[in-house]
């Protein structure tokens, strides 16, 4: 990597080395947050249980016919570099061991429902009593207080709740959302990491831990709040407008010429400035469009956007996609193809930047993992290892962290406590 990534004169540690994290998360938003901490060098010990494994261990994608709990690409991508210990926290002996891990940790995180947190005996009151200087990151669907604190959901329910479904797509279509449980993957884990690192800073400065009460509803609504802000302060009702925006045109996705190996290919294009528009018209071979009175200013283009989009769509339909994107970019216009996942995995730009990591995994082999969302020039942030097998580190954590003997560990496994 040529950019802000390597300095050869000195080997730097990762920035969170020494931070001890106890992880009682599952599914998406929680595990991704603690994965980022692990990739920053924290020692993340994740408590799992064979009795009720993480749903993402179950659903895959996995190789066809593979029913292992260790080969799900969905799970593995979100849990790189963690240690996995299996403990049944609902058994008294298991709960006592869990509490000893709480005493060990600087930070505890869960994104389970309040009900599940009570069942595992890991409420903030219990955790804080066991370790008064710990940070407790609790991230239920709607936060730790309020009339809906017990309400539950997954990313798909959250997408509706936080406004994403209503805001996406076209006014005449059903509010189906965006085809994924979007808030789970970057927004909620990212907000979670920022909040946890802020609390770590406070803990290091003062010795004081704290409760982080993070509502997934609030965290998601925070990045979708422009229409709420416009309603509250200007009385403006939101109208869904597909790929358009109020301040620029043309702005959208336009279907390019049919290619036998790649049907249904679309070009995204955004003219954010008047210069963009003039350059785009010229690059499209129609400099006269920029002289057309209907399209002279952004206000004109917004007023005549249907006619404008029809012209751009007609032009695009006759273009080879990659050539059109390259020509527009050469003219300085923001443009690019709507790529599928295979094309993204093989993108030469991402390859040169070494974005994807391929750590080897004893059962799944070397599979693609998402790289870091931010890069640090001195203290590396990177995916150095694969996700753990279910319970892979039970013995290691039980002996090294909990100080149990081999005999004790064997008994606890036999009695389904460490399972």
């Amino acid at each position: 990597m040529t950019s802000a990534t390597s300095e050869s004169t000195k080997t730097y540690p990762r920035p969170l080395e020494g931070l001890k994290v106890l992880d009682l998360t599952w599914f998406g938003a929680g595990p991704i947050a603690t994965k980022i901490l692990a990739n920053l060098g924290a020692d993340v010990v994740r408590i799992e249980t064979e009795k009720r494994p993480d749903g993402l261990r179950v659903v895959g994608p996995k190789p066809v016919g593979d029913n292992s709990l260790n080969t799900s690409g969905y799970y593995n991508n979100f849990n790189a570099e963690k240690r996995s210990i299996t403990i049944d926290l609902t058994q008294p002996e298991g709960h006592a061991l869990g509490m000893r891990l709480v005493e060990w940790a600087d930070l505890f995180m869960t994104n389970m429902t309040n009900r599940a947190v009570r069942q595992t005996g890991m409420t903030w009151e219990q955790v804080h009593e066991a370790n008064p200087r710990i940070i407790g990151m609790y991230e239920p669907m709607q936060g730790n207080t309020g009339p809906h604190t017990e309400y539950m959901g997954f990313g798909a329910v959250l997408s509706a709740l936080c406004g994403l479904n209503y805001l996406a797509g076209h006014q005449e279509n059903r509010p189906i959302g965006v085809g994924s449980n979007y808030p789970d993957y970057v927004v909620n884990p990212g907000h979670g990491v920022i909040a946890m690192l802020a609390a770590v800073r406070h803990q290091r400065r003062t010795g004081e831990g704290q409760l982080i009460d993070m509502s997934q509803f609030e965290s998601s609504a925070a990045v979708l709040s422009a229409p709420v802000f416009a309603w509250d302060n200007a009385g403006l009702e939101y109208v869904r407008q597909g790929n358009r925006v109020p301040y620029a045109a043309p702005h959208g996705a336009y279907r390019v010429a049919e290619h036998p190996e790649r049907p249904d290919l679309w070009l995204a294009l955004a003219c954010l400035t008047e210069d963009d528009w003039r350059a785009a018209a010229a690059a499209m071979g129609h400099p006269e469009w920029a002289e057309d009175a209907r399209f002279a200013t952004v206000a004109d283009r917004k007023a005549n956007e249907d006619a404008l989009d029809a012209l751009v769509a007609e032009w695009a339909a006759a273009q080879e996609g990659a050539a059109a994107a390259t020509a527009l970019q050469a003219a300085g216009v923001p443009a690019g193809l709507v790529l599928n996942a295979t094309e993204v995995l093989n993108d030469p730009h991402l390859a040169e930047r070494a974005y994807y990591a391929y750590p080897d995994h004893p059962e799944a082999g070397p599979r693609a993992y998402d790289g870091p969302g931010f890069r640090l020039s001195r203290t590396p942030h990177e995916v150095r290892g694969a996700a753990p097998l279910l319970g892979e580190h039970t013995f290691e954590v039980a002996s090294e962290v909990l100080g149990l003997t081999s005999d004790e560990i064997g008994r606890l496994i036999a009695e389904d406590v460490l399972r």
Partner: protein, 424 residues
Amino acid sequence: MAGALDDIRVIDATGPIGHYAGYLLADLGADVVKVEPLEGDPARRWPPLLPDTPEPEAGLQFLLLNVNKRGAALDLGSTEGREAFLRMVAGADVLLESWSAREAEVLGLTPDVIEAANPNLVHASVTGWGLSGPYAEWAYADIVALAMSGVMNLAGFPDGPPEQLPDHQGYHCASINAAAGVMAAILYRDATGEGQRVEVSMHESLLMAQETAMQAADILGTNRQRTGGGGATGFKMPGLGVYDTADGALYSMCTGNAGSGFQGLVELMRELDGPSEIHEEPLFSFVQERMNTGLLIQAMQDPEGAGEIIQTLRRIDDIATDFFRRHPTQTLYKRGQELRVLLGPVNTPQDISESEQLAARDWFRTVEDPARGRTLRYPGPPWLLQATPASLRRPAPLLGEHTNEVLTEAGVDGGALLAAGVAR
């Protein structure tokens, strides 16, 4: 109680791609100074606009994401402006900017120049494509990053275009990563005194949001496509998806063993309407005994053999559709959640504005904005930090509102720059 960053000064010289990063750091207590070009940030003029407010102070997007910041307008292309900027950087802990490598070079603000001005700085760069690689100097826009990251490929109906995500999710994800990177770098700087660079690409920031599409391509060699909300099964599972209600719409996830499953929904039907066809044979046994993940897998693996099952599932889905249509969203949501039925309202901006849950948690905040002659209502922070709470301390800056103040703090003769027309 003070914020976790109450001793940190941030220079935020980003365009719209980085506004939210500065906003988040300000919420944690940092003193954030927004540095804009003389004509102002482009988002100052983006509709929608605050009514009865002169240009360039009315752009709602700008007001939303630049609250809590001070503002200075500086011509970085001028020698005096550039030197003043470096003086400001020298007194800061964090610099956020959004220049490509070539733009930084044209400005004479390359990383080595910045580092010379402040060797211990945390210097974050937030751009469309990152600072290296074949696309590094490409133009960017939110929708283009959504396209190139594969995220847009999942959204929309099969017979319509791929759809962007609303409200600038590319800019938001890039900003979130920038703020997270700055936090990690601040912790390291606290421990060692050493600063470093943080590099964020909006394109890369979005890749994780492909959900399982990347792994499906890597492990199975298949590409997920936009399905119009229908899922990948080829048939409609009852209780899964968006349904109309008497007064709006909701998302229902009553399937498998999520919450109380479809069986919970059947209980909700009994509670609200009394017993009906679905509480009688043969449907009742089918729902209780067969509507589980096994059935789903069976139908997916053998869609033809599942013909009869699919007829039954259709009938059950019609019953669910009719049930949802006859009741108001809030009744279904609240009574349902009490039974652990996984339902969520398709909330509109007005619904969120009026949410009783958000009200009970005092999520919304108000800020006096005397220059714009009103009190503005702001959405809350994404987190509640009990010991180091978020705070809104000042309205979004007018263009150049604090130019003289921040230049004076940096030991620069602000009056001379203003008179020379290189500051505003």
